[in-house]
């Protein structure tokens, strides 16, 4: 008996994941030629289908190569691999897309300019020499470019630019790097720069770039249109220029991001900040985020860039235009979002011109429209891992696998400040980029646009809505206006579920959800809670002593209110507050607009006020950031009493006040003692809960845990006692993570 081995086989593969807009089909085509297999490849409603025929071994190696050698931006996932009867196939072809069948789309984020494109841009012989919109299948804008699916040029903001013959030749040649690079462009047929300054003559192209560099060199503020919106740029080394930008933008203190020239070994960054390998890798990550770095004493940037902060937000040029600008200017540039506080970054030329007129001396526009805004993502290294503070251009839309299957598509509207939305269906969750503060009508309008866009792009229609439990959030009201069933999730439950959703595993968690404030189960403002359980079943087991916050919402911008509140609550005196608080004291005694809160964030505010670091705050978290920056000493923790009542272990901050109010002690020592004490609170509560429930897996989330000193103190203490500590690393631990947490919570309940 002899086995009949067929000389040839035919196989079919189906690839999902990120295979669209990343040059995957041309790659399959080239690979097929390399392995000399015959067949075809085509788009199939967001997936890619490959059929090839050849020797069995060759086919196996071909199939492996499709996964292993995929282009850097592609993330193919093999969904199917099966044998077909041999067919009559000649050559290998890229065949037309088929739009039928179930849609499985992955909307790509915006990619940084790849090395090959940057090299071409620098090559005087190349026809795209110094062309600021050069791109290929491996780089360039995507999310901010796509108007609708499928991802074809006609459905992008490049639709208005007709391809010149040479670009068309590249675009239609399967062996070219620009085969179906939808935003492909060149100086002949593509977008152009335009420089405008007051009533001076409008300059275009290279002259516009030169004029922009000259304006920056002269200390001016220039609004520069980039990938996901406008930046306000100025010379980062010039105190005068940075001061002008701050005064005009009415942003006295909030740190400004800086874009550094891209040079060998990141030398320019290194002259300004301390870098370790994690920082270096993050700066060079394809998303090219802003990374918070510890500033050097001898940094060559103006102190006004990040006053009172020991860190600077650094990023590398990510678009060809940024490369040209930074090369032309030759030194770091402030690159902060071109917007008004709390609003989305501006993207439209006319609107930017009108609304930034009082801020910018000049504008560097271009005529490639931006379909929707995306701010730069922000990362901070905490406990050795880069963790997001903001999702945006480069990593949005952010896709996360859900640890369960949703029965119906769900839209989660998130919270109020620094908000995002999330769309979930089946086992997929998509988180939007940063949308801004929802009390700004433009941010809310953007949320509605992005909500519609995400559903359109992914071909999914939400059938239910999840929102926060706070009745006053604009997103809660928006939810109520939709013709869909709405369920609400408590703020801190959403925080805890976001963390649990990021690290799916069986069993219970103990999650510390510490932040400014959120609507709690008992109708008070929570903010220092420890939750035990799992998504869909959280139970408060730890908290902080609550206090009445005089003046309610105003306390968020006036840390002295928290300081007074703690003193009044515990019968202590503090003389450094505002002069006349008689009226406020009366209101506090009668409970007029003095909501009770167990907020950990307000404790940080109070401590910063006691230490004279911040009694007013012009941006969220200013006081806690100042306190963290001051915590450079080494100080022991103060032991705080822990009382259990109704199953909640409550830590009393009162003894900490006496320490903070000792004016004789050094600020850095008191700031350090504060951090050490709060780390101790986490450990004490964790021990008590472990004794009761046996849980040893703890999570830290909520805006307070953006604090590196606190997190690292806790990790050190907790690991020493056998706890495993988890801190979010894919979704921000601040309120930008609420939308994802709401999805997880809603999914776990259904």
């Amino acid at each position: 008996m002899s086995a009949r081995i067929p000389v040839e086989q035919a196989r079919r593969w189906l690839f999902g994941g990120r295979v669209q807009g990343v040059g995957f089909r041309p790659f399959v085509y080239r690979t097929a030629h390399r392995y000399r297999v015959r067949g075809w490849v085509r788009n199939l409603a967001g997936q890619v289908e490959v059929v090839a025929q050849g020797g069995p071994d060759t086919l196996l190696r071909f199939g492996e190569a499709l996964l292993l050698d995929a282009p850097p931006l592609a993330r193919p996932a093999k969904l199917a691999d099966s044998l077909l009867p041999p067919q009559a196939l000649n050559g290998f072809a890229i065949v037309d897309s088929r739009a039928t069948g179930p849609v499985h789309v992955a909307v790509p984020p915006d990619y940084f300019a790849c090395d090959e494109c940057v090299a071409e841009m620098r090559d005087p012989a190349n026809r795209r020499h110094r062309y600021p919109f050069i791109n290929c299948t491996q780089c360039g804008p995507r999310y901010t470019l796509m108007r609708r699916v499928p991802y074809d040029r006609a459905n992008t903001t490049m639709a208005g630019f007709a391809l010149c013959p040479r670009c068309r030749a590249e675009y239609t040649n399967p062996l070219d790097r620009r085969f179906h690079a939808e935003p492909v462009a060149c100086p002949v047929c593509g977008p152009r720069l335009a420089f405008e300054a007051g009533s001076s003559r409008r300059l275009v192209g290279e002259a516009a770039l030169d004029a922009c560099v000259s304006a920056l060199a002269a200390g001016q503020v220039v609004a520069v249109k980039g990938i996901g919106g406008y930046h306000l740029m100025c010379d980062a080394a010039s105190s005068a220029a940075v001061g002008t930008l701050r005064a005009r933008k009415r942003r006295p203190h909030k740190p400004l991001a800086v874009m550094f020239p891209r040079d060998a070994g990141l030398a320019a960054v290194q002259r300004t900040a301390h870098l370790d390998d994690v920082h270096r890798a993050m700066l060079l990550d394809p998303m090219r985020p802003i990374v918070l770095l510890r500033t050097r004493e001898d940094a060559a940037i103006a102190p006004e860039v990040a006053p009172g902060c020991s860190e600077v937000g650094a990023m590398l040029p990510y678009s060809p235009l940024h490369h040209l600008l930074l090369e032309g200017f030759g030194a770091p540039l402030v690159a902060t979002s071109g917007n008004l506080t709390g609003e989305p970054v501006l993207t439209d030329n006319a609107e930017a011109t009108a609304r930034l007129a009082h801020v910018a001396d000049a504008f560097l526009h271009h005529d490639r429209p931006i379909a929707r805004p995306a701010d730069d993502p922000v990362y901070r290294v905490v406990a050795g891992v880069a963790r997001p503070l903001r999702i945006g251009r480069g990593n949005a839309p952010l896709e996360i696998d859900l640890p369960f299957t949703l029965s119906r598509p769900v839209l989660a509207l998130g919270g109020h400040l620094k908000n995002t939305v999330a769309l979930g269906w089946e086992r997929r969750a998509i988180v939007s980029p940063h949308l801004g503060d929802m009390e700004a009508p433009r941010s809310l309008a953007l949320l509605e646009q992005v909500t519609a866009d995400l559903q359109e792009l992914y071909g999914v229609r939400a059938e239910r809505i999840v929102c926060d439990a706070h009745p006053g959030y604009a997103t809660t009201r928006l939810a109520a206006r939709q013709p869909l069933p709405v369920s609400s999730v408590f703020h801190h439950h959403a925080h805890a579920s976001a963390l649990a959703g990021e690290y799916p595993q069986d069993g219970d968690w103990l999650v510390f959800t510490w932040d400014g404030a959120g609507f709690g189960e008992d109708g008070t403002l929570w903010g220092g809670e420890a939750l035990f359980g799992r998504p869909g079943a959280w139970r408060r087991v730890g908290s902080l002593r609550s206090f009445a916050l005089p003046g309610g919402e105003r306390a968020a911008r006036e840390p002295w209110r928290s300081a007074l509140a703690l003193c009044w609550e515990s019968g202590r005196h503090w003389d450094d507050g505002p002069v006349d608080v008689t009226l406020l004291r009366s209101a506090w005694e009668r409970g007029v607009n003095c909501p009770r809160t167990s907020s950990a964030g307000r404790l940080f505010d109070a401590a910063a006020a006691f230490l004279g670091l911040a009694s007013q705050a012009t941006f969220e978290a200013q006081a806690p950031m100042a306190l963290e920056a001051a915590a450079t000493g080494d100080a022991p923790a103060i032991a705080l009493p822990l009382h259990e009542r109704d199953g909640v272990r409550c830590s009393d901050w009162a003894p900490l006040l006496d320490h903070l109010l000792e004016a004789g002690r050094e600020v850095r020592e008191r700031a350090s003692a504060f951090h050490a004490t709060l780390a101790r609170v986490v450990l004490d509560q964790a021990r008590a809960v472990r004794a009761a429930f046996g849980v040893s897996r703890i999570g830290l989330t909520g805006g307070v845990f953006q604090n590196r000193v606190l997190c690292e103190d806790i990790v050190r203490l907790a690991q020493g006692e056998g706890f495993a500590v988890f801190i979010p690393e894919r979704v921000p631990c601040n309120d930008a993570g609420l939308s994802f947490g709401q999805l997880v919570e809603a999914g776990a309940r259904s």
Partner: protein, 335 residues
């Protein structure tokens, strides 16, 4: 205990005490030709025009506050509702719910104040009723007034007449009444520079009634200016854009609100008018208001625009904030 100085349950039982209470307090102050306590219903002659009727209840605490009291408020509140509807008030009815234990002297002051306000507004109280409720079941005294007014035949005012492009005017500073009453209620200590704006708005509304471009008027009482703006947006389906720096707010009001964490745009006024007028008549309307003692600080504060029906406040810094409908018990969102 009937000690002669306080209202007792006996003053509500239909007997002699009640008759004396009505005659010695209410009739004494409110007497007029159409008020006849012996009949069950008043017969009133009406001048020509359209008849408008409105009703309102008054429960303010404390009963007396800087700039006004519940007596005058019971007149002004109902008169103002007629006034902003374009009517001239003619008659009022009055129901008084008196809590056992209220001092006669205070009741007398309140009714006297009511009578004075009615006289100043040219309105007569023609029907009334008193009830006495048990101690603890009422806040001293509550009043309910119903007003009848006459509007010129053919005068049309209403939210259905508002168009995109119309200007929004305020007759004066906002938040005074709410702030003054809050301070008085919580006994935060009196401040000489803060008093209620409670007053009749008849002169203000009268000054605009002849204007062709007058679309709509309202007195921003409970919920303040922000609530009126939301009502306009909701009823018209248009966007209401308020220009923050243009909205008149008196410095002491602002300072108290900043200290206590209140938003003056949500605090009640009792003597102001918000008017929506065609853009071409806005300047004339402002001029007419500014010529009046209560309209000196009148200002053009916003505009009605096409767009999603919501209220946008432009802030001093060029930013924008959504002014949402008032919550029952607003909880901080951002701290």
């Amino acid at each position: 205990v009937i000690d002669g100085r306080h209202v007792t349950l006996a003053h509500g039982n239909g007997g002699r005490f009640m008759r004396e209470l009505i005659e010695e307090v209410f009739v004494r102050h409110l007497a007029n030709p159409e008020l006849d306590t012996r009949t069950d219903a008043a017969h009133v002659p009406l001048p020509p025009g359209e008849v408008l009727v409105t009703t309102d209840g008054f429960t303010v605490q404390p009963l007396e506050f800087p700039g006004g009291d519940i007596g005058s408020l019971a007149v002004h509140g109902t008169v103002n509702d007629l006034a902003v509807s374009g009517a001239v008030p003619a008659y009022l009815s009055l129901s008084a719910f008196i809590e056992e234990g209220l001092e006669f002297a205070q009741l007398d002051r309140l009714v006297a104040s009511m009578a004075q306000a009615a006289q100043a507004c040219g309105v007569r109280v023609v029907a009334g009723d008193t009830k006495v409720v048990r101690r603890g079941e009422g806040g001293g005294v509550y009043f309910a007034t119903t007003g009848v007014g006459i509007r010129r035949q053919g005068l049309r005012l209403g939210l259905d007449r508002v168009r995109a492009g119309d200007a929004i005017l305020a007759s004066g500073p906002v938040g005074d009444h709410g702030t003054a009453v809050l301070l008085a209620r919580e006994q935060f200590g009196l401040r000489g520079d803060l008093s209620s704006d409670a007053a009749s708005v008849l002169p203000l509304t009268g000054a605009l009634l002849a204007m062709r471009g007058l679309r709509f008027m309202r007195d921003p009482t409970r919920g303040g200016l922000a609530t009126v703006a939301n009502e306009i947006a909701r009823a018209t389906g248009l966007c209401v854009r308020l220009h923050g720096p243009a909205i008149p707010i008196r410095p002491p009001v602002l300072s108290v609100c900043e200290m206590l964490g209140f938003d003056p745009l949500y605090l009640a006024c009792e003597g102001r008018v918000v008017a929506v007028v065609a853009p071409e008549d806005a300047d004339a309307a402002l001029e007419a208001w500014r010529a009046l003692p209560d309209g000196r600080d009148a200002a053009r504060i916003g505009v009605v625009q096409d767009g999603r029906p919501h209220v946008v406040l432009e802030t001093e810094l060029g930013g924008e904030r959504g002014l949402e409908e008032l919550e029952d018990d607003p909880l901080p969102r951002i701290c």
